[in-house]
Every structure is written in C-alpha cells, then in structure tokens.
Amino acid sequence: MTQVSEAPERVRPRGERSLRLARLVGAKIGGGLVSLFLVAVLGFLLFRVLPGDPARAMTRGAPVSAEQLAALRHRFGLDQPLWKQFLDFLVNLLHGDLGVSYTYSRPVAELIAERFWPTVLLTGTSTVIAVLLGLWMGTRAAWRHGGTFDRLSSSVALSLWSVPTFWLGLILLMALGVGVGPLPGLFPVSGMSAPDVPPGLLPRVLDTAHHLVLPCVTMVAVVYAQYLMVMRSSLLEEMGEDYLTTARAKGLREDLVRRRHAVPNALLPTVTLIFLHLGLVVAGAITVETVFSWPGLGLLTYEALRGPDLPLLQGTFIVLAGSVIVMNILADLLYHVLDPRVRGS
C-alpha cells in the first residue's frame, strides 16, 4: 500500500534560513532606498519645479534687470535642462550639500546639523514616555474593558487626541510658564537653556531638563493616546483567541495568561503601528518647537516657511521625511525578527 504523507514537511535547514533573512534585510533596505530616492524627487519637485522660477524667488520681487536674472540663473545652474538640474541636485545631496539658506546666508546642511540633536532629544524623550504610558494604560484598559479605568482612560485619551498640539502647548505655556493670576510660572517659556547657567555638566543637564518639561509634556499628552488605543484594540482582539482558553485549561492563573500569552502577542502588531505614527510625532515637534521656541528642526521649519526660505525648507523636508523613513525600515526589520509568523514566510 502506498504511504500517503499528510503534507510535505516544511523543514528548512539553518543555512537556508539565514540566507532568507539576508535576502529579506536586503529587500527591506532596497525598498527603503527607493523611498529615500522618492523623497529626494519629491523635494526637488516641490521646491524647484512647483514654485516656478527660483531666480525670481531669490530676488524676492526686488527690481532686477533681465541680465542680472540670467546671470543668477546661470550661477545656480537654472538654465540647464530639468533632468540635468535634478542630477546635480542629487549629486549635491549625496555629498551632503543642501544649498544655501536665503535668510541665514549659511549652508542649509550646517543649520540642520545644529538643530538636529535638540529635536532628537525632544521627540526621543516624549516618544519613549508616551509609548510606555500608552502601552501600560492600553493593556490595563483592555484587560478590564468596560470597567472604570477603561472608560476613564479612553475618554481622557480621546479628548486629548482631539486637542491641537500647539493649543495645548500655549495653554501650558500660559498656565505653567507665564503663570496665571497669583500663581508664578514654574517652567521656562522658551529655548532649551538659560543664559546664566553655572558651569559644570550637572547644572547644564538640569537646566536643559527644566526647559524640556513643558514641550515634552505637551507632546506626550497628544501622542500617548494613539498608543493607548492601538494597544487596547490589539489586546482586545487577542483576548478572543482560542489559545488563551488552552492556556486557562492548562491551569494558568489569569495574570499569567495575560503576561505570557496575550500581551506579548498583542505587542507585536503594536510595534509597527508605533513607528507608523512617528510622522505624527514629527508633526507635533514642528508646532511644539514653534510654541516653546525649542531650537530644533521644527522651529527651523517654521522659520523657513515664514521667509519663505525655500532651500532651507527643502532641507528640513528631506531630513524630516528621510529620518521617518529610516526609522520605519528599522521597525520593519525589528518586527521580522520578533514575530516568528512573518519570520518563516
């Protein structure tokens, strides 16, 4: 009698598995490079093609002769065909040359480098706090869903989510920075350091932290709701699954059922969503930095759009969009390492 096998066995040797991983990492990075290229294309289109003649923009309506305009065009390569201009732009970009700011008369790359770390400090701190807070509250809300904590945390989150970031920032600035009525202001209202800080590392760190409180609270308040909602619904979905019944049947305590089975599984899809929402954090950074004059990329963007200083705006656009894309590639790879279901397929 023929032996009828139940299905071809899906065993993969270890070597093949690491090859697959390498191929996957390659594909993700390749895809990311395409995205970064698209950002460059978009940056070129938005700021070089859409606004019309950049030479006119540079003169900002000042009366200039046709010869002067032509000379200007020639100097900036604007008399070249479009594809040639794009190629030059791309080559410059790869060399880290983002052009020269109209308003500051300094290289855009230099300005961005100065403002990069303050933004990383602000968005990094607030993201970490918001993620921890959101995941913890989301887990609690889902586990006791329908309970007081769930209803309260969901409504608070929903209300905060409905508030524009910058308005919350203005309110906090007025209430805790300037002070209301007899109450004095508790926190500095602008910048990231006071002019009269005593020398030494510790005082400087404390001073920066003091300045960080209000912008950070503002960002956390608006962003954590996202994470709460995502974690809550992800866990609620997981809670209906059969394998939790299996876990209970095995005699696991409820809190172990939750800690060992439900929460880790619910966290996996949440990871991706956290990174997908990074764009929102960046959006928040622009307005929060504007409100609190935090010397980061957001404030730089605001200064650029007031000009409008197109090379500067182009620079911040490319850097902000590029960093979000890079973070997302990293998140995607992380997800593939964490989740065995996608790891295998």
């Binding site: 009698m1 023929t2 009828v4 139940e6 299905a7 066995e9 899906r10 065993v11 699954e241 059969d242 394998y243 019944t245 299996t246 876990a247 209970r248 049947a249 095995k250 005699g251 696991l252 305590r253 060992r260 089975h261 880790p264 599984n265 996996l268 989740d339 065995p340 279901r341 295998g344 397929s345």
Partner: protein, 542 residues
C-alpha cells in the same frame, strides 16, 4: 474507586439579553478509567459547552447547575486555586482547530513544557527537554521540530502537538473536542488511531466529541447522543449503531453512509436511462478536460493539476474524490473558466472554451457552480430574490425575471417561493441557504452543475435532503452534475461514476460500484481504509 468523571443532573445556561438560555439540560454521565465515551450531536446541541463545564472553562455569562464531579470533587465548589491545580493534571483537553488553540508565536516545545513547569514544580531543563522529546516521539513527531512554531506545521502535525500537550501532565481524563474535524480522511484516521492507542496504553478515560457518528463509532466503546441540550440516547456503541432508539440517532447514523451498503445507494445504476448511458462515450461528453495542467507560480511552481482527462457526460453525476490539496478544486475552477489552464483544453459540447469576456459569460450560463459554504456564498446584504436574480441580471435576461426566480426557487424545493423573496440569508437555515445557492444556479437553466463539497458544511440531518435534491434534478431535468468531495460515502450515495484524484493526477476512474468495491489503485484503497466506517467495513477490527 469513584469514577473519574461523574455528571449528575448537569445543566448550563447562558445569560443573553437578561434571560437565561439553557444550553445543556440535566445531563447524567459517568466515565471510568480506560473507558471511551463518544458524545455525538449536531452543531449547537450543547456538546462543547458540556465538555467545557468539566474544567469549568465556561465564559462568565454561563451558569452551571447540578454536579460535575471530577475525580470525586465537584468543580463548582472548588476554589480557583484547587481548580487550577486540577486543570490539565486531572483532565486535559484536545481542542478543536489546533491552529487557533496553539499560541502562534511560541515554539511548540515551550507550549508543551508550560503545563509541566506549572503543575510539577521545579525540574531541571535537561529533564524537561527529555520528557518533551519523549512526548513528541509518542505522537510520532520528529524531535527536531521542538523549536518549530505552529504555522510551520501541517494540520495533522498541529493536532499531534495538541495531543502531546494534553498528555504532558499524565491526566486521568482526556477530552477531545472534534479532534479531527478539519483534517483529511487519511490524516484523520491516523490521528484517531494514535489517540486510541495512547489512551488504552495509559489506561485513561477518553471523552470524544464529534458531529460525525462514524468517527466516534470507530474509536469509542460507549456512545451518547445529544440533541437540543439533552442526552437522548446512551449505550454501547454496537447497540446504538445497530439499533438506534431515538429518531435523532437514526438521522445522524444515516447521514454518514457506509460505502458498499446498498441501503445508502440512492442512485443505483438502473435509474439512469439506458439511451443516455451510451452517450457517455468520449467525444459526446458534455464537459471535458483534455490534458489539462495548472501550475501556480513560475518555473518550479506548484503543479496543482497535471495532465488531467475528465469527462462529464449528459445526464450523469460524476464524483471527483480526493483529499484537500489534491487539486480537485483547482480542476473545478478550470472547468468553470475561473482559472486558465497552463496547458491542455477544456471542451464544452465539443467546442473549446472561449477566452473572450463575452464568450466566457455565455459559457457561464451553461455551467454553474454550487459552493461548499452556503453562508459565505450568499451576500449577506442581498435578499433571496436578489441572490437568485443576480445571474439573470448579469446576463441581461430580466424580462421574465420574477417568473424565472419563482421557478428556480421551487425547483430547489423552497415553496412557496414568494415567501422567501424578502428574506436575508441570516434568516434561513443552512439547508435553505444551500437551496438558495442551487436556485441561483438553476435560474440560468444550465446543463452542467459543478458542486464543490455541497454538503460538507451542513448539519448531518440536512445532508441527505440536499443530496436527494441533486439527484432529483438529474432525474427530472437531466442536469449533469460534477460533485467534488473528500467523502467517499457521498460518492457512494449519489454518483454514477467516480474519479479519484491524487497529487494532481486522476488515478482511477469508473462506475461507482466498480471503483469503490473493487479499487484498482493503491490510493483508492488507502482512502477506503481510512473512512471511519461502520461494522460492515472489514478494515476495522470490531
């Protein structure tokens, strides 16, 4: 010694919209070590609820009354701690659908180890690994798969993992809830055999739950039949099968026909008009596949169908039998023109299938499809009338729409047709839904019907009715039908001819009596031996 499990007047009700809805009413049962009890019943009869009450795994909305004595202790009065200690160490469960019952992101080794760590206190990692290896060996899984995740295993392998997990803490009672439902017949018989062997080796009690009486009869010594929350019959398997006392038991038994038993053969060769039989020669076939192959993916992709020749003659029912993955559904889709063959030709009435959109549309008026799951096959937003009229509207035949819909519904035995017009699918029973799907196909007056597992998702008692309807359509309208099924019993019941498909090939084809009673190919024999059949089957020991 007291029995391992004793149920005394056990009842379970669910709280729904402020009302208690009874699911199980006053069940009395007792089970001793080494005993095997089969609990049979249709979906919704309360059998799973009853099983879950043994470990008190019911949802919060459930109320449990009466006594459930597990090892002499009433689970209702145990504290949570005592109950948790009893779970898995006194009684464990093999759940239905192992894909969902296993945690998708933990390795199977870790999941098998979990209850051992929990119930047996500290033990060395190496000892634990040894025992997991032992368990995997017992369920005939390669030990090196211990780090695999559920999605990397086949359905049968996952079910083996569930069994290994259930045996991990040496329980005295094993509850198996539809352990083989989603599996192929061959795998099903392997799992049942494994389960039976392990249970008898360890002298533990087994309570097996299934809607399929033949599965239970081949593996349990006692049978209990449940109907609307009550036990309507209980006794030794032999007695219940040979002489069912309750009419529901009789209906259940009849729904799983025995191959070779002439009582179950609805379509003896004689019913076919003889002049039609002669038209079944090659060439005059109504619908034919000639050397059809279907490959998925490029290059070394999957060869789902390989070089198949198949003919459906005028006025005949042909059963295409095979396991899932044998390529039978792909072949059916190809015959319907829903899938383009990689090579070979599909002929209808001697002419090759059109490739143009319009030509295909005309063809589809002639060959119609009936799907396995009538619940999914009907758009939940469309009324019965719209569902049946859909084909007419696509083909622009709307002038006498109402009359034709009425006629089709009545041909599918939904009478009076008008009373069904305004209903939505969710207001119909499973059998009625399948009749609506059939009516939706009939309304185009096709000459061939392709039915893909037409009764597989229906309750046992409704199956016979739908099969009888297909048969009547052939007799009364001369409608040819290609029935695709994994169930040899179904082929025996209604088909004139049968074709057996295995790994993309048709390995055997011929008259039903010839193929099923004197199988020529090894694979057909394997299939026949694997059918968990009643006593007449020589393959089983009983």
């Amino acid at each position: 010694m007291s029995p391992i499990l004793r149920l005394r007047d056990t009842s379970v009700s669910y709280l729904r919209d402020g009302e208690l809805v009874p699911a199980v009413r006053g069940v009395n049962l007792s089970l001793d070590a080494g005993e095997t009890l089969g609990l049979a019943g249709e979906s919704g009869c309360g059998k799973t609820t009853l099983a879950m009450s043994v470990l008190h795994l019911l949802p919060r909305s459930a109320r449990l009354d009466g006594e459930v004595l597990l090892d002499g202790h009433d689970v209702r009065t145990l504290s949570w701690g005592e109950l948790r200690a009893a779970r898995w160490s006194s009684a464990s469960v093999v759940f239905q659908g192992a894909m969902h019952a296993l945690n998708p992101v933990r390795s199977i080794g870790a999941q098998i180890a979990e209850p051992m760590r929990l119930h047996e206190g500290k033990q060395s990692e190496s000892r634990l690994r040894e025992r997991i290896a032992e368990l995997l060996e017992q369920v005939e899984l390669p030990v090196r798969r211990v780090d695999a995740h559920p999605h990397e295993l086949s359905g049968g392998q996952r079910q083996r993992v569930m069994i290994a997990m259930a045996l991990a803490c040496g329980p005295r009672l094993l509850i198996a809830d539809e352990p083989t439902t989603a599996l192929d017949v061959v795998v099903q018989s392997q799992i049942l055999e494994l389960l039976g062997r392990l249970v008898s080796e360890r002298d533990i009690a087994l309570m097996m739950i299934s809607h399929d009486l033949s599965v239970l009869s081949s593996s349990c010594s006692e049978l209990a039949v449940m109907y609307q929350g009550e036990l309507v019959e209980q006794g030794p398997t032999d007695r219940v099968m040979a002489d069912p006392g309750h009419e529901h038991s009789r209906a259940l038994a009849a729904a799983f026909p025995t191959v070779g038993d002439s009582r179950f053969r609805f379509a003896p060769a004689g019913t076919r008009p003889s002049e039609e039989a002669s038209s079944a020669e090659p060439g005059s076939a109504l619908l034919a596949a000639r050397g059809v192959s279907v490959n998925f993916g490029s290059g070394d992709g999957i060869h789902a169908v390989r070089e198949v020749n198949l003919e459906v003659a005028d006025n005949e029912i042909l059963a295409l039998v095979g396991q899932s993955g044998s390529g039978k559904t792909t072949l059916a889709r190809t015959l319907l023109g829903l899938q383009r063959p990689s090579s070979g030709r599909v002929l209808f009435d001697g002419a090759e299938l059109a490739t143009s959109t319009r030509g295909l549309r005309r063809y589809r008026g002639q060959v119609q499809l009936v799907l396995q799951d009538p619940t999914g096959a009907l758009n939940p937003r469309h009324t019965v009338y719209e569902a049946v009229a859909e084909g007419l509207r696509i083909h622009g035949a709307t002038s006498d729409e109402r009359d034709r819909v009425t006629e089709a519904l009545e041909a599918a035995e939904l009478r009076p047709a008008e009373s069904f017009f305004a209903r939505f699918p969710h207001e119909l029973s499973g059998g009625q839904r399948q009749r609506v799907v059939i009516a939706g196909a009939l309304v185009l007056r096709p000459s061939v019907l392709v039915a893909d597992e037409p009764v597989a998702s229906l309750d046992a008692t409704v199956r016979g009715e739908i099969l009888a309807l297909l048969l009547r359509l052939r007799v009364e309208r001369g409608l040819s039908t290609l029935v695709i099924t994994h169930d040899l019993g179904l082929a025996w019941t209604i088909a004139d001819r049968v074709a057996v498909m295995y790994q993309g090939h048709i390995v055997e084809e011929g008259e039903v009596e010839q193929v099923l009673l004197n199988p020529a190919h090894d694979y057909t024999r394997t299939l026949l031996a694997a059918v968990p059949s009643l006593r007449e089957q020589p393959a089983t020991e009983r």
